[in-house]
């Protein structure tokens, strides 16, 4: 049996790991929302595509490069392909609607349509089978105190997530592309007048968001192994929820929201029971939104000008 502190510590680690996956995927939702005010329903499916590409390329690469080098290469391939898929969805499905100034709900439905296309295409291609990612990496306990244990994989994954989030924050703050993204989020038409290639920046945003999801799915493969066409569905909804808790459109908000949701689920499982954990998480979400209508870190803004 655990002591109560070991138990809380262990569940906190469990929650942070899950939460960092949520956060990486939530970032994609939030970035896209920030720039074109679209709830990109297909983002969960991009995550799934990333997982499959990573699985397939590892199958090829691992013969020559087993273990971590092979995994890193397959994740890079997954990032590129998922990024391209993300870009293509934007180019062919969303851009015509944005150009025509279509209502927001039509944009949402288009995103659901894109999600259906990706989901079912992968379902047909894989004949709805579940695949198993055999990374060949064994988790070794790095730290053990009483019943509490921390494995090396857990530490590696947490470090990667933290550095990705820090890197993204820096990029948005310091680089020209990041500045352009923030400017477009504020006022697209003025940006166009100022000579910013708005379409290109939107495309870049989709690419980065999708690539982040692909990194998350690669790491997810190492830890959870199962790869199936339906893996992005519930996960996408959770990440989307995390983005909203944090304040959709806000980059630090998405990170905070993801980690918080992961923690809530782990603590909820332990102290409320696994069958009620989602009621607990969603209930808290509603309470947070009642008291902070723009999420934890969202800015108050007027919806229509």
């Amino acid at each position: 049996m655990f002591t109560i502190w070991e138990l809380i510590l262990q569940q906190t680690v469990n929650g942070l790991i899950l939460g960092s996956f949520y956060a990486l995927v939530a970032l994609g939702y939030s970035m896209v929302y920030g720039i074109i005010k679209l709830l990109n329903f297909a983002h969960g499916d991009i995550f799934m595509v990333g997982a499959f590409v990573c699985f397939a390329s590892f199958g090829v690469v691992s013969a020559a490069l087993p273990g971590w080098p092979g995994i890193v290469i397959s994740i890079v391939i997954a990032m590129i392909i998922a990024g391209i898929v993300g870009y293509l969805t934007q180019r062919f499905a969303y851009r015509p609607l944005i150009k025509a100034a279509a209502p927001r709900l039509s944009l949402l439905i288009t995103a659901i349509g894109v999600s259906l296309i990706i989901y079912n295409a992968v379902m047909v291609i894989t004949s709805s089978r579940t695949y198993f990612f055999q990374s060949g990496i064994e988790a070794a306990p790095l730290f053990q105190a009483g019943m509490f244990r921390l494995t090396d994989i857990q530490v590696i994954l947490l470090t990667i997530s933290a550095s990705l989030m820090a890197g993204l924050t820096l990029m948005i703050k310091k680089t020209m592309v990041g500045k352009a993204m923030r400017a477009i989020a504020l006022d697209r038409d003025t940006c166009r007048l100022m000579g910013i290639n708005v379409n290109k920046i939107i495309g870049v945003t989709f690419f980065i968001g999708s690539a982040l999801a692909a990194i998350a799915s690669g790491m997810y493969n190492i830890l959870y192994v199962n790869v199936s066409f339906s893996m992005g569905y519930m996960f996408g909804i959770k990440a989307f929820t995390a983005a909203v808790i944090g304040g959709i459109g806000s980059i630090p908000g998405a990170m905070l929201g993801g980690l918080l949701l992961g923690l809530l689920e782990a603590i909820g499982t332990q102290f409320v029971g696994s069958q009620w954990k989602d009621v607990f998480a969603f209930g808290l979400l509603i309470v947070i939104l009642i008291f902070r209508p723009n999420g934890l870190m969202g800015k108050t803004e007027i919806e229509r000008m």
Binding site: P96, A102, L105, V114, I117, V124, F240, D278, I286, E303
Partner: protein
């Protein structure tokens, strides 16, 4: 294009319109004479989606609120009826007022504090609430937990038990007519115009003295009640309900039907629902393509949205005026 506007003009004549509607009704009402049970069952599913879409249309189409959790509204009606009929052995017809009352109470509890939220936040609140309802139904023993309620007694009408698909076809047909009349009356009332105002420009509506929060709440309650009634009928028609029937996919399905058809337009919504229910059924039998039916559906959805962002048959008010950049 000329033909369409001509048709619209003709339809403005009350007599012609009544004639056309009566003809459509009679044709539809005679379907059971020449279709077999399987086709009637598919029609029942289409009609079920029509009822849900008409209910959701009040929330999404008329008021412009984004609701991603409509499944919860009909789950509440279905479970209220299911429990009262199965556990307490009530007559089905007596459960209807209870189901309406429960729908109102829950709509107020969830709507009152959250309807002031911006639309995307409202979307996630409704989604979260729907998940809470589904998981609660899955965990409690009175709702039959994961297995749900089975063997719900079918109701009697004038001493005649409603069992076959044909019976239910007519029950649903009558319900649809009632729902259409309700929707039509709302659309053309002072209340309906206030809702349209809120949908087009909430701030302006508020500035003009429309109590937007209260009106949004009314619309939300009304949508919930229509969903609850549909759920009650669904429970006794299917005779078994389980939490799986009320998951997020179901909410999305209804929303797709409303928006694909044309928000706020009654015939549009009905066509959207019919299309949604019938499309996958038709493709199911074709080898190879059958597995990809939902892929084609997604493609079609994107193509329709790109070419007709307002849906297949949009409300005339909305179609004509190009709104300023609403994004």
């Amino acid at each position: 294009m000329k033909l369409i506007s001509k048709a619209y003009e003709l339809m403005d004549n009350k007599l012609i319109r009544a004639g056309v509607l009566a003809a459509i009704f009679l044709i539809v009402a005679s379907f059971p004479l020449y279709f077999n049970n399987h086709y009637i069952n598919i029609m029942l599913i289409a009609m079920f989606y029509m009822l849900l879409a008409l209910g959701l249309n009040v929330i999404v189409g008329y008021t412009g609120l984004c609701d991603l959790g409509y499944a919860a509204k009909f789950a509440i009606g279905a479970y209220t009826t299911g429990i009262l009929v199965n556990v307490f052995e009530w007559s089905f017809w007596l459960t209807l007022p209870v189901s309406i009352a429960v729908s109102i109470v829950i709509a107020v509890i969830i709507g009152a504090p959250t309807l002031k939220l911006r639309s995307d936040y409202l979307a996630i609140v409704t989604l979260g609430f729907a998940e809470i309802v589904r998981i609660t139904a899955r965990n409690l023993s009175i709702t039959g937990a994961a297995s749900g309620l089975h063997g719900i007694t079918r109701p009697e009408l004038f001493g005649f038990r409603l069992t076959s698909f044909t019976h239910w076809f007519y029950v649903y047909l009558v319900l649809i007519v009632i729902f259409i009349i309700i929707s039509f009356r709302i659309r053309h009332s002072r209340f309906g115009r206030a809702l349209a105002f809120i949908r087009e420009d909430e701030d302006a509506a508020q500035a003009m003295g429309v109590n937007t929060v209260l009106y949004k709440l009314y619309a939300y309650i009304l949508g919930a009640v229509l969903g609850g009634i549909t759920g009650s009928f669904y429970a006794v028609q299917m005779t078994s309900i389980s939490p799986n029937s009320f998951d997020f996919t179901q909410s999305v399905n209804v929303l797709l039907a409303v928006i694909l058809g044309g928000m706020g337009k009654i015939p549009g919504v009905i066509i959207g629902a019919a299309f949604f229910a019938i499309f996958p059924e038709i493709f199911r039998d074709i080898p190879f393509v059958g597995d990809m039916r939902m892929l084609f559906f997604g493609l079609l959805l994107v193509v329709v949205m790109i070419n007709r962002p307002q849906g297949l048959w949009p409300d005339r008010l909305r179609a004509n005026d190009k709104l300023p950049d609403k994004i």
